[in-house]
Amino acid sequence: MKKIRKEEIMERKIRAKWSLATWGILLAVVGVLNFGCVTMAPKKPSVLTPTDRGTVVFLDKYEFKRPPEGWLLMQNLEGGDFELGFMKFEKGDFPSQTTFMYDDKPYGGSRDLEVRAKYYCTRFLFNSGIDSRVTKQEKLTINGQDTIAFSMDGENPNRKEKAKSKIYLVKKGNRIISFVCTQWRPLNGAFSQEPFDHFEAFVSSFKFLKKDFYEEIEEKIKELKG
């Protein structure tokens, strides 16, 4: 009987060792699989890729000089009012902040720059209640494209805030695109030039790396019509 018990105990010990070893192997396999999953998952492409020219590339679509650290990237994920932009919360009481953006669908429908600019001014910041007026307007070219640049500022005494803006409406093929910078301040706050300098660098360095949707569809229509 004693002999039998001894054998049983040994057998149990061996079984226990084997089951421990099996669990160990299983855990190792799971670990390898998990590790494999991590390495096999597609890497999320970086939204902004730096170049050796001191600029960044945005999703292989645009290249531009980005503002320094502290400016947050704004990206439109669902197709709305703008394509991409940056914003910065600044020192001072609310609403001390500046935003600037590239918008490929500025207000209005006219493809004539002057007509579009006139209409644009009637809609810009309308919902904020800011009584904006044009303080300066000029015609120029940006990267060889006809442009109207205008500065606007205004106040909303009820909300005790004011805004100062710089807008570029640029002819791009058959359409008009825009670059817009708006600085917000409380009524007693002072505007600062530095954010506008970053905006100017953004605009003057902005390059289109790909044909946009509208250029592509125009080509398709041309092909279709012969």
Binding site: K105, G108, G109, R111, R175, I221
Partner: protein, 112 residues
């Protein structure tokens, strides 16, 4: 509306025309069209037979953020040359999708 206005030149090349339909009266619609400088016609459909025909009319009015009643939901309908409804989408129009759809229809018409 702005977006349709911007894309009118492409709609024309794709042999499509835009028509806006609203339950507002003629004077209101006229003022609305002028304020947005719309270059396509608006139909004032006070008796909402068009809204009913195209499924944009709701028996129970949804309310706009300002509290006013709105019986017409936003609906985009594309009708082909034979009068057949080919595309329906509720909510804000997706102009890129509409343009791609019109391109597909034009290819159909041209047999390509």
């Amino acid at each position: 509306m702005d977006a349709h206005n911007r894309d009118l030149y492409l709609y024309e090349r794709l042999n499509a025309r835009v028509l806006g339909v609203s339950m507002d009266d003629v004077i209101t619609s006229k003022y609305f069209a002028q304020s947005l400088e719309l270059e396509f016609p608006l139909i004032s459909n006070v008796l909402p037979w068009m809204g009913k025909a195209y499924g944009a009319y709701s028996e129970k009015p949804p309310f706009l953020p300002d509290g006013t009643q709105n019986w017409f939901g936003r609906r985009t309908v594309v009708i082909d040359k034979r009068g057949i409804v080919r595309y329906i989408k509720d909510g804000s129009p997706d102009n890129k999708e509409i343009l791609m759809f019109l391109l597909k229809l034009e290819k159909e018409v041209q047999g390509k």
